[in-house]
Symmetry: C2
Amino acid sequence: MEYRDKKAPSYHKWIKRLIKDGKQEALHELLMDLDEVEIANSLMQLKLKYQVDVIKALDREKTADVMSQLQDHEPIIESIIEKLNTEELGDIVEEMDKDDAADMMALIDDEMVQEILDELPAEDREELQTLLHFDEESAGGIMDPDVVHVLKDQNAGDATKRIKEYIKAKEIDEFYVIYVVDEHEHLIGRINLSQLFLADDQEEIRNIMDPDVIAVSTDMDQEKVASLAKEYDLVTIPVIDDHLRLVGRITIDDIIDVMQEEFEEDLAHVAGTGDEDVLDTSLIKASKQRLPWLLLGLVGGAMAAFVMRGYESSLARLPQVAYFIPVIAALGGNIAIQSSSLVVRGLATGELHTKQLMFRAWKEIRIGMINGIICAILLLFIAWWITDKWLMGLTTAGALLVVVFLAAFVGTVVPMLLKRMDMDPALATGPFITTTNDILGIVIYLAITISVYNTQM
Amino acid sequence: MEYRDKKAPSYHKWIKRLIKDGKQEALHELLMDLDEVEIANSLMQLKLKYQVDVIKALDREKTADVMSQLQDHEPIIESIIEKLNTEELGDIVEEMDKDDAADMMALIDDEMVQEILDELPAEDREELQTLLHFDEESAGGIMDPDVVHVLKDQNAGDATKRIKEYIKAKEIDEFYVIYVVDEHEHLIGRINLSQLFLADDQEEIRNIMDPDVIAVSTDMDQEKVASLAKEYDLVTIPVIDDHLRLVGRITIDDIIDVMQEEFEEDLAHVAGTGDEDVLDTSLIKASKQRLPWLLLGLVGGAMAAFVMRGYESSLARLPQVAYFIPVIAALGGNIAIQSSSLVVRGLATGELHTKQLMFRAWKEIRIGMINGIICAILLLFIAWWITDKWLMGLTTAGALLVVVFLAAFVGTVVPMLLKRMDMDPALATGPFITTTNDILGIVIYLAITISVYNTQM
């Protein structure tokens, strides 16, 4: 029994030492003792040349397990694939679950994929070809075509026999739900394995099955599949084709991977990064993914500078006006991002609908204004104290209120509009929304402050 | 078969109509036709007074299912609980899974909890009391004490009989893994239900079980439990006490809830919001949770204004210097948040260790500098063009490079230091890191630009 409470030991150091010392035998023994998670974690800590040595020291089955485990770390898989030949890859693909194999093959160039497919048994080849043809982010792209199913007009005993044969033929190790189909392969029900386990041999499948089975179509977006699974606490989701025939199942481990992927995508939008892997070592790739957001900030900043140039003489006469530009920009940006991130999450989880646009905007504006008024009162005194001019406190606080109002509005409305236009609402969090508000805030603030002072003087 | 591809119908409108028209019978019929997910979703769209009518129209079992479904929406549960009496709550608790019941009871005040416990059968009461005593965010707090287990010295046939009795007694509907214990209840192995299903009656449990079972202790943090489950693709995790005795199991639906919770916490830190529920209607609560981040921005902005006051005469003489403060602050903030959000994610998933601090900081600095140099070159020309002074372009670009260097460093090092001090690294994303960089950026920029101009003139 493994009692996981301490930190994992650093196997990668031992592995590196064994490779360096050329101890092939000892390396093989160590690796065969480790499970696929430990090997995958070690690989992520090793340099490419050692990674390939590790893979070559594994047997086919273990390699397949490790490659499945590494699924979320494309750069590592890609670099390992490059070092393997068609035959080696074919052997690995044959051992992998079909859905994992299809994911891996999406990273290999088309010509090689064809060569690998040619080496596979006919049935495997056909199934893989079908999977490769689905969009990677659709239910079809993440499903496993091997799904345990029985006929409605069987009794539990016959069904059990049929299942035993099927899982032996398909080498399935784990399944929790059995799907029921009619004679045309149409999905018509489900039975938990535990129910079948408890049933008497004579009971009819038709009588023990649950006809309320939730299924998804092959082209449903994976994010939607994940939210259905979460809502209904499903461990497996059946996938059906256009004719309502059962064509595959999506297991919970893939659902969890999708959730993680989608979370990280949302977070990347808020933070203005790309979908880079933490452990990826390519500086250029990381820089490239982050640059667009910075260029957006640069363009926004240039526009702000351009606006300020229009007030050059006023700023020279009254440089104190410039002091509060950073605080106005920061608070406007913060409030906009607070509203937008909440709206984006609500839209992603389905708790919020675009129909509620004005209702939600009004709520966000009120929340923003409560905080805006508190901040404005404090800013009034701060600005008064720093510049020793009560009018400066008053105009700055007033400008802040206008900026906050607009920030809450923009932060709510923009993601909802993007969603209505079928674009990713998460694009409107992070750098995009803060940049917009920086410019908006500075324009409003300067217009208000300078015009008040011009009438005063 | 339900084919989920279209939007869910708006049951809440029908429900509201039936309540308004006083059609009790029709309401009950409609509700009994809907599943717990549909009812929970409808409740979230209804006002409190209608929510209570809905709950009262359900039978106990359905109410229990709906309350479990609403778990992540504490405000709704809390307001419904308030409207129910001890007896009604006791009935609901008895129908719920123990772990869900314990979560719900954590929202009820202690006196009432005691009253509810007093009404329960002795065994249920004891189990619930044990659960309530664990930290809500620990393995003990999310586990279900009812776990299907068998003895190692049984054969498959006897084990099957024992399981059938156990799940009938405990009213367990779904289980996928059977744990194996010795005569002292120590956890020593696991069997997938599918393996037991395939085994012959005479086979010894000891021979078919997998002794490599991963277990967690009752006090392990739920985030760690979730990452173990994800790493090892586990559908259920067994929980053991200090004496290594099996005391419960955590199911995948709870793991998914934990993942969602932890992710939303991270996102809330980056966006500077609280753990507010999208559908919560309290403006004051939402404002209160968001205010601290805004006050942080306000303090930062006040400090920036204070720094700028030190340069008053220079700014009056050369107001153009002020034009580029927004762009310097924005880019510094963006780069810091890019680095910090990546580091925070890496720490959360365990892909990054605090030991790699300097290695990681150096990587982030190089990524930041590649982009910093590109932005600086562009800024050089932008500033030159806007002010018509090449020296302004040069100093602004130079200052940007220094700011970017520091931003990448701070963005990487601060979350890692927080983690080392056992604090939540996610605190150092979002408003905290941008505010720090705003001030730092403005100080550096003004110091560089103004001193260059002072020596020039």
